[in-house]
Amino acid sequence: MVVNIKNLVKRYNELLAVDNVSLSIKEGEIFGLLGPNGAGKTTLINTILGLTRFDEGSIEIFEKDFKKHEYDIKKEIGIVPQDLAIFEDLTAYENVDYFGRLYGLKGNLLKERIEEALNFTGLQERKKDFPKKFSGGMKRRLNIACAIMHHPKLIIMDEPTVGIDPQSRKMILESVKKLNKMGSTVIYTSHYMEEVEEICSNITIIDHGRIIAKGTKEELKAMIAFEERVTIQLSAISFNLVDDIKKIDGVKECLLQENELLVVSVRGAGNLSRIIDEVGGKGIEIKGLNIEKPTLEGIFLILTGRSLRD
C-alpha cells in the first residue's frame, strides 16, 4: 500500500473535521477523493502531509510510519495545493528551481528536471516569464510543474483545476493520466464529479469529515442503481399509451410530456423490449430513446440529500 490510514480523527475544538476515516491506496492507482467544499478533503490531505496534527489514528505512507520517517517520506511526495503555491516574483524557471532544490536536486540533474517539468506542463517557452503574466491555467500548470520535477512516487493533487478554462483543465487531466502511466500513484481531490469519473480508478466520497461511500466507479454506481430511467421521443401520442405501459411488469412510473415519454422501472426488470413493442403496437414511431445511467453526482445526491456544489 502506498497510503494506509486507520481510524483517523481530527478535531478543531468542537468541530470534527475528520471523523474516524480509514482508507488504503494501492500503488499505481489514481485515487479520487470526492466531496463538496468543506467536506474535510483538504484537512485529510494536510494530515497525510504532516501539515496538520491529528488526534487519533495512524497514517502509514510507503508502509512507513509518517511520524518516524517524515523526511524520507516527504522526499517521495509531490503536492499540488488547492490554492496556487508559486512565487509571483520568481520566473517560472526559478519557481521550479526553488522547489527542486527543496527536494535535494542539484547540478545537471536539477537543470534536466526543470526543463523536463516545464516541457511536461507546456511552459518551456515561457520559462523566463513571471507568473503575473500567466493566465489562470498556466499558473495551475506551473503549480503542477513545481510538484512533479523530483519524480515523486506519490502525487497529491488538491482540486488542481479550480477556476480554469476548459482547455487547461483538459491538459491537466491528461497530464494526471500521463504521470500515472509513468509510475506515480495519484491522490486527486475534487468536487467536480466529471473529473473524478474520467480519471480515477478508485473513489472515496467524503462529507462532514466522514467517508460515506468508496469503491470503483462501477461499484459506487451499482450502490444506487435501484431504478432505470428511459426517455422515448415519439412521433405522436396516444391517450391509452401511458396507462398501458404502466401495466407492464416492473414499471414504477410513466409520464408523458409533449412528445416525450419517461418510463421509470425497477432495476433489472428487463422490460425495455415490451415497452418498445407497446409503443410500436399503437402505430407510434420511436424517434429517439435514451437510457439514463447513474452518475457520481446522483450517488452523492442520494447519499447526502444535497448536490456536490452546494
Binding site: 494536510n46 504532516g50 526553488y98
Partner: protein, 385 residues
C-alpha cells in the same frame, strides 16, 4: 547548509525585485534625510547661550558679601550672569515662580561672621525646576567663588599674610573645535532616519512569516523535506541581509552625496545595521506569530515604529523635552527603543571613534532580538494545530 544558502539567496532576490518596497526602503529615508537635514540645520548649530538672569540678595554686611559682589562684577562673570538685586527673600522666590529669573542667590545675615568663627556657612541658591541648565550655570559661578575663597582661607590659616584673591583665576574658559565632534543636522537625521526605516523593515519579517504560516506556499514548503530550522534560518538571514544591504546603500549614498559623517569605520556602522536588522526582523516575526494575522501585525508595527522613533529623538532631539517629569519620563522610555540603542551605538562610534562605546548598545539590540525570537518560537508552538 545548502538549504539555508539557497533560501537566503531566493529571499534576497525576491525582496530586491519588489521595486515598490525597495524604493520605500532606500529612496524614502534619503529624501527624509535631505529635507530634515537641510530644514533643521540651524537647530544643530551651537549658539551663544546669552546671560543667565539671577536674583541676588545678601543680608550679610561682612567681608564675604563684599568679596562676592566684587566677584560678580568681574568681566568674565558679568558675561555669564545678569544680576538683579532684590529687597526680600519673598521677592526672589516670586521672580522665580514667575520665571523672570533662572535662580536666586541668597546670603544669610551672619554669613561672614560664621566663616570667621570657623562655622559652616552656605550660600543658598534657589532655582526653578524648569531651569536646570541655567541653574547649573548659577551654581557653577557660586561654586567657583566659594572654592577660591576656601583656598584663601586655608592659605591664611597656614600663616601667609595678605593673601590676594584673584577671581579671574577661578573661571577658566577655553575653546575647542567642535567640527566633526558633534553631529550636524544632516549627520543626525542620517542616523535617526536610517534607524527608523530599518525598523519599518519589520514588515519584511511580518510578510515572510505570514507567507510561511498562513499562505498556501508555506504549506507547500513545509510539505517538502526541508527542516523547519533550515527554512527559518535561511529566511531570517535573507531578510536581515536584505535590510543590511539596503542600509549600506543609504549609508554610502548619504556619505558621498550629502557628505554625511559616518565616522572612520563603515564596517562597524554596518555591524550596528546588521544588529538592528536582526531585531527588526525579529519584531516582525514576533508580531506575526503572536497576532496570527498579517494585517494586525502590520498595524501594530506601523504604530510601534513611529513611537520608537519619537521617544528616541528620531524626529527631533528630545533633550530636556517638556522639562521636569516629562523629560525624566522620556529619558527612561527611550531606553526601550531599539532606535535609541542604534542611535547611541552609531553616534558613539562616529564621534568617539571607539567600538567600546557602541558595544553595550549593540549587545542591547541583540538581547532584545533574542527575546523577540524566543517569544516567536513560543507563539509558533501555540499556532500549530
Amino acid at each position: 547548509m545548502r538549504n539555508i544558502i539557497f533560501t537566503v539567496y531566493y529571499t534576497i532576490l525576491r525582496y530586491f525585485r519588489d521595486k515598490k518596497t525597495l524604493v520605500t526602503m532606500i529612496v524614502f529615508p534619503l529624501v527624509l534625510i535631505f529635507i530634515l537635514g537641510s530644514a533643521l540645520s540651524t537647530a544643530f548649530t551651537p549658539s551663544e547661550m546669552g546671560k543667565t538672569k539671577v536674583a541676588y540678595l545678601s543680608l550679610d554686611k561682612g567681608g564675604f558679601t563684599q568679596a562676592f559682589e566684587e566677584f560678580l562684577q568681574v568681566e568674565d562673570v558679568e558675561e555669564l550672569l545678569e544680576v538683579v538685586e532684590i529687597e526680600s527673600y519673598e521677592e526672589g522666590v516670586s521672580l522665580i515662580s514667575q520665571q523672570k529669573v533662572s535662580g536666586f542667590i541668597f546670603i544669610e545675615e551672619d554669613h561672614s561672621l560664621r566663616l570667621q568663627e570657623g562655622k559652616e556657612a552656605k550660600v543658598k541658591i534657589v532655582s526653578s525646576r524648569y531651569g536646570n541648565f541655567r541653574s547649573k550655570v548659577i551654581a557653577n559661578v557660586v561654586e567657583a567663588f566659594t572654592n577660591g575663597s576656601n583656598a584663601i582661607a586655608a592659605t591664611a590659616t597656614l600663616g601667609k599674610m595678605n593673601p590676594n584673591y584673584n577671581p579671574g583665576n577661578s573661571i577658566d574658559y577655553s575653546t575647542i573645535s567642535i567640527k566633526g565632534r558633534i553631529p550636524t543636522s544632516m549627520d543626525y537625521y542620517s542616523v535617526t532616519m536610517l534607524a527608523m526605516i530599518m525598523m519599518y523593515g519589520s514588515s519584511y519579517g511580518i510578510y515572510g512569516i505570514a507567507q510561511d504560516y498562513f499562505d498556501s506556499i508555506g504549506s507547500r514548503i513545509k510539505a517538502s523535506p526541508i527542516r523547519a530550522y533550515q527554512l527559518y534560518i535561511g529566511k531570517t538571514l535573507g531578510i536581515v541581509l536584505t535590510l543590511t544591504l539596503q542600509a549600506l546603500i543609504v549609508v554610502l549614498f548619504s556619505k558621498y552625496a550629502y557628505g554625511v559623517n559616518w565616522g572612520g569605520s563603515i564596517g562597524v556602522i554596518m555591524l550596528i545595521c546588521f544588529s538592528l536588522a536582526t531585531l527588526s526582523t525579529g519584531l516582525g516575526v514576533m508580531l506575526s506569530m503572536v497576532t496570527g494575522d498579517r494585517r494586525a501585525a502590520n498595524n501594530i508595527s506601523s504604530i510601534l515604529v513611529p513611537v520608537f522613533t519619537f521617544i528616541s529623538g528620531g524626529y527631533m532631539p528630545l533633550s530636556n523635552f517638556g522639562g521636569g517629569k516629562i523629560a525624566g519620563l522620556f529619558d527612561r522610555l527611550k531606553l526601550v527603543s531599539p532606535n535609541y540603542l542604534t542611535q547611541r551605538a552609531m553616534f558613539n562610534q562616529i564621534f568617539d571613534g571607539s567600538l567600546k562605546g557602541a558595544e553595550v548598545f549593540i549587545m542591547g539590540l541583540w538581547a532584545i532580538s533574542l527575546m523577540l525570537f524566543l517569544t516567536s518560537i513560543m507563539a509558533g508552538r501555540r499556532q500549530v494545530q
